[in-house]
């Protein structure tokens, strides 16, 4: 390695190293090209969003349509532009031969790649390039160039991290909290598989059942065998028939499968005196045998037949073992002059069972257990999206405010002061009210607007205090660039309080969202959402307390777990509490 003498740029007297090899010559230019791609993509998205918004609000009559490819989430676009710009700087540093810039490009490329992946199909190609760049960093000749310096830089931080994990292992409450949060998230994802009922499914006959009561109606998987709605007279007098094979997968429960018929006849003219008989029957035969046998011989294989006038809905049970059946529907009338409307549905209900309402049912027959689990999806999505958006926007504003200071800082702080003059729930209430429509999306927007100042304050304070710290002064005095100071000193130290704040706020936002939903700002009645479930259960509190108790426990548990984790992480990361005992 040789020391380059003519380093007459803003890096001052920093020792730089001449980059050897082809890879090092290609790498920076590729890096810069990809950064520019990411920035322009982000900018295109921003412009596209603005144009789309503009077109939607003002040019609706013109029928102007923007390619939907260019409409994405504005936040991602903004992040792409900001990170892309910083990344561009580290690309320049790489081309100057700054070994450290390689590791900084490692992070930023990884983050850019992830954002690109989420932005849509347009981001796919640059994302592949960016990830390839990340991989190239680990090619032996490149890695040997920057990795040792990186290890030395990160060594103490790794030790701190290991110590943090050591402390984490020693705090059982935090682990319990993490497990509960992980449990909630996985339950939310697994909801379709672990709940017997859908989020808005109701069994009206099962209203207000106590916890642990079996359902009054069996739950089954259904296979539609035949469905016909027609005003066709040709149905008469022929059979409508079909074969159904009940395989071993369809008899896994103790209840036998049923073949359910629904035959409904309505005449369209003056045959009102005509009495149409709906014949339904199931035979234990396969179709070829059935067709080859005479009607009287078929009767030997009859499982059951039902005859009823005009409307017939029989459920015919078959054996709870694999075999093949033939189902038959036909209509018989004494005389007929006009077409009839005939509505026929035949289904196979297999794997039938009576689910148990573990946590009871609500007033309209919804299974509380299923609804609570489905609601986890809704509530967690609301609170996570609120916290993420508030965090990203608040952090950007706060960082800018802290870093540039001056008039901007003064203005941002006055604005946050005003936001802090409102209690969270009440400002959110006013915003939802102003937005007009009451639904969870508007609750989310309101909470995002309410919550960002918190993060702006946290980040600004951190950036200000870090900026003044001696090691940053020291780093600056040896000629470290702004982006390097930001990446290696300010961001790592700002992230810790942010993580703590965000963890605890996720719980707070969840509680506030549930509260808003409780007082009637949430979605339409019937949506599976914890606050709304409590709100609807409160009228039956004395007789059927489970209807609001279980959703409340669900909220309490997740909020408690999030607070435990946030609290624990704060204690673990707090340098004052760290070195004790």
């Amino acid at each position: 390695m040789t020391v380059r003498g003519d380093n007459g740029n803003d890096q001052g007297e920093q020792e730089s190293i001449v980059v050897p090899g082809l890879v090092h010559r290609v790498f920076p230019s590729l890096h810069i090209v990809l950064c520019l791609a990411a920035i322009s993509l982000g900018a295109a998205y921003l412009v596209g969003n603005f144009v789309a918004w503009f077109a939607n609000s003002f040019m609706h009559e013109l029928g102007f349509q923007l390619p939907s490819l260019l409409i994405g989430w504005p936040l991602q676009a903004l992040l792409l532009v900001v990170i892309g710009y910083m990344n561009l700087k580290s690309g320049r540093a790489i081309s100057r031969g700054d070994a450290w810039a390689y590791s900084s490009s490692l992070y930023m490329n990884a983050v850019t790649g992830v954002i690109l992946l989420t932005i849509g199909p347009l981001g796919l190609l640059p994302a592949v390039g960016v990830f390839a760049l990340v991989l190239a960093l680990f090619a032996p000749s490149v890695k040997s160039y920057w990795y040792r310096e990186f290890r030395e830089d990160m060594g103490p931080r790794g030790k701190e991290l290991r110590f943090s994990f050591h402390l984490l292992r020693r705090s059982p409450l935090v682990i319990v909290g993490i497990l509960i949060v992980a449990g909630y998230i996985s339950v939310a994802f697994l909801a379709p598989w672990i709940t017997p009922y859908g989020p808005e499914e109701r069994i009206w006959n099962d209203a207000n059942l106590a916890p642990g009561t079996p359902a009054g109606e069996a739950k089954a998987n259904s296979l539609i065998l035949f469905s016909n709605y027609s005003a066709d007279i040709s149905i008469y007098p022929e059979y409508t028939r079909g074969e159904v094979q009940v395989g071993p997968e369809e008899v896994t429960t103790s209840l036998p499968p049923i073949i359910a018929f629904s035959g409904y006849v309505r005449d369209t003219g003056n045959d009102n005196l005509t009495n149409v008989l709906v014949h339904t029957a199931v035979y234990k035969l396969n179709l070829t045998t059935f067709d080859s046998l005479s009607p009287s011989l078929r009767e030997l294989y009859l499982v059951k037949s039902v005859e009823k006038a005009m409307l017939s809905r029989p459920n015919i049970e078959v054996n709870n073992s694999p075999s093949t059946y033939v189902w038959v529907v036909w209509f018989v009338a004494s005389n007929k002059t006009v077409p009839w409307i005939v509505d026929t549905v035949v289904t196979l209900d297999y794997n039938r069972y009576y689910p148990i309402h573990y946590w009871g049912t609500d007033n309209s027959g919804g299974d509380i257990y299923s609804r609570i689990i489905w609601a986890a999806q809704v509530d967690l999505r609301v609170s996570l999206s609120v916290v993420l958006v508030a965090l990203a926007s608040g952090a950007l504003i706060g960082a800018a405010s802290g870093y540039f200071g001056g008039k901007l800082d003064e203005m941002v702080m006055r604005i946050t002061d005003i936001f802090f003059a409102f209690p969270g729930l009440i400002l959110a209430m006013a915003i939802v009210m102003a937005l007009g429509t009451r639904n969870l999306e508007n609750i989310s927007y309101a909470l995002m607007i309410t919550w960002w100042p918190v993060y702006a304050r946290v980040v600004r304070g951190q950036v200000l205090s870090e900026r003044e710290k001696l090691y940053v002064e020291a780093a600056r005095s040896i000629g470290a660039s702004d982006s390097r100071i930001l990446l290696s000193h300010i961001i790592p130290n700002t992230i810790q309080p942010l993580i703590v704040q965000a963890t605890m706020d996720t719980g707070g936002v969840l509680l506030t969202a549930a509260g808003l939903s409780f007082i009637g700002f949430g979605s339409a009645a019937g949506t599976a959402e914890w606050g709304l479930m409590i709100s609807q259960g409160q009228y039956y509190l004395l007789n059927y307390p489970w209807e609001c108790m279980f959703p409340g426990v669900a909220i309490l548990m997740i909020a408690l777990a999030l607070n435990l984790v946030g609290d624990g992480i704060r204690d673990i990361l707090d340098p004052k509490l760290r070195r004790r005992g």
Binding site: R414, I415, D417, I418, F419, A421, F422, P423, G424, L425, I426, L427, M429, A430, I431, M433, A434, L435, G436, G507, L511, T512, A514, G515, F518, I519, G520, F521, G531, I534, S535, Q538, L541, L542, P545, C548, M549, P551, G552, I555, L556, A559, L560, L562, N563, L564, D567, K576
Partner: protein
């Protein structure tokens, strides 16, 4: 002299915030929302609508509307709330309902401070002992508790189940037992804004000289008061604990110990006074939590205060009521924090002269 300057400075600092609050509520209700909704009810004569638009300047440019808005607000015209029975002016409704909410908030705050400060001290001085673990879980539960659910739970246990088990139970809601008040006072209406003197039921019952009514009022306050105060209690306990732990590591505590003071005096004289300073700030911020909580608690306990009025207004989209409520709560919150700032100055000599 210096103290006066200090107070003056703090009061002046609150003024831009108040303006900001007014601006935000204006923006929300006039720019984002539909301002006409505040002045028109179903009973409004359709012929009068153009007049209303003219009067409030809704046809003017937004900047002029903003100043008109400020002028009407300052003139005491906060619109008409139609969710209260007769179409009453918002300020009248606020004047009637305000004492109920403030009384509840004060009781909750008293609960929170009386229990929270000692619990925090106890937890800090017995760090990592069973009492500390209990307190931490108790206060964490308070922070994580959905307050509306907690209210229902309390009501179910303390009112319903206790009555089922034949135990003495707490009333399920309302501010007073109106039948009892009617019998005792012989006034035919019981307790409402026409028969109240100060609006505060605890004070009024004493002014009437009826201890039985005072007892009734206290009984009615216990459940909503505790329910509302639990969150604040939890916040105060946590803050007290952490600031106490922080203070106990300070040099002046070592000095106090080196003087030969007993641990009791070190804690209660030297540490407590210093640890209270950050806690007082939290108390001011917690007032906002109390106002939010009142919205939820009052509905459940049928408490005739601002919170229940606001929820009823939400259900029927009574814009004027919501707007007035939000504005009022922000004013209360700002003034509570102002008072806290002043208290802070009294507690910490460094601030007062700084």
């Amino acid at each position: 002299m210096k103290l006066r300057d200090f107070i003056l400075r703090r009061v002046l600092l609150a003024i831009p915030v108040i303006f900001g609050v007014l601006t935000i509520t204006w923006f929300l209700s006039y720019v984002v929302g539909d301002p006409l909704a505040m002045f028109i009810t179903e009973r409004t004569n359709p012929a009068a609508i153009p007049g209303i638009i003219q009067d409030h300047g809704f046809n003017e440019p937004l900047v002029i509307q903003y100043f008109l808005y400020l002028r009407t607000l300052l003139a005491g015209d906060w619109g008409v709330s139609y969710s209260t029975g007769g179409d009453l002016p918002v300020l009248t409704v606020i004047a009637r309902k305000f004492p109920a909410t403030i009384e509840l908030a004060i009781v909750a705050m008293v609960f929170a401070v009386i229990l929270g400060v000692p619990l925090g001290i106890l937890s800090a001085t017995r760090k990592d002992k069973p009492i500390d673990h209990f307190t931490r879980v108790f206060s964490l539960a308070g922070v994580s508790m959905p307050i509306f659910w907690f209210a229902l739970l309390l009501k179910y246990v303390l009112f319903y189940q206790f009555s089922v088990w034949g135990l003495p139970y707490l009333p399920s809601g309302d501010r007073v037992d109106n039948e009892l008040w009617k019998t005792v006072l012989h006034n035919g209406v019981g307790y409402d804004f026409t028969s109240s003197i100060t609006g505060f039921v605890l004070v009024d019952s004493l002014l009437y000289g009826q201890p039985i009514l005072f007892g009734d009022a206290v009984l009615h306050l216990i459940m909503p008061g505790f329910c509302l105060g639990y969150l604040t209690l939890a916040i105060i306990t946590r803050m007290m604990r952490s600031s106490m732990l922080e203070v106990m590591k300070e040099d002046y505590i070592t000095l106090a110990r080196s003087k030969g003071l007993t641990e009791r005096i070190v804690i209660y004289r030297h540490a407590l006074r210093n640890a209270l300073i950050p806690t007082v700030t939290v108390i001011g911020l917690a007032f906002g939590g109390l106002m939010s909580g009142a919205v939820l608690t009052e509905t459940i306990f049928n408490w005739p205060g601002l919170g229940r009025w606001a929820t009823q207004a939400i259900l029927v989209s009574d814009m004027a009521a919501i707007n007035g409520f939000v504005l009022l709560v922000a004013f209360i919150f700002v003034s509570a924090n102002l008072i806290v700032d002043l208290t802070y100055g009294a507690l910490d000599p460094r601030i007062r002269y700084g």
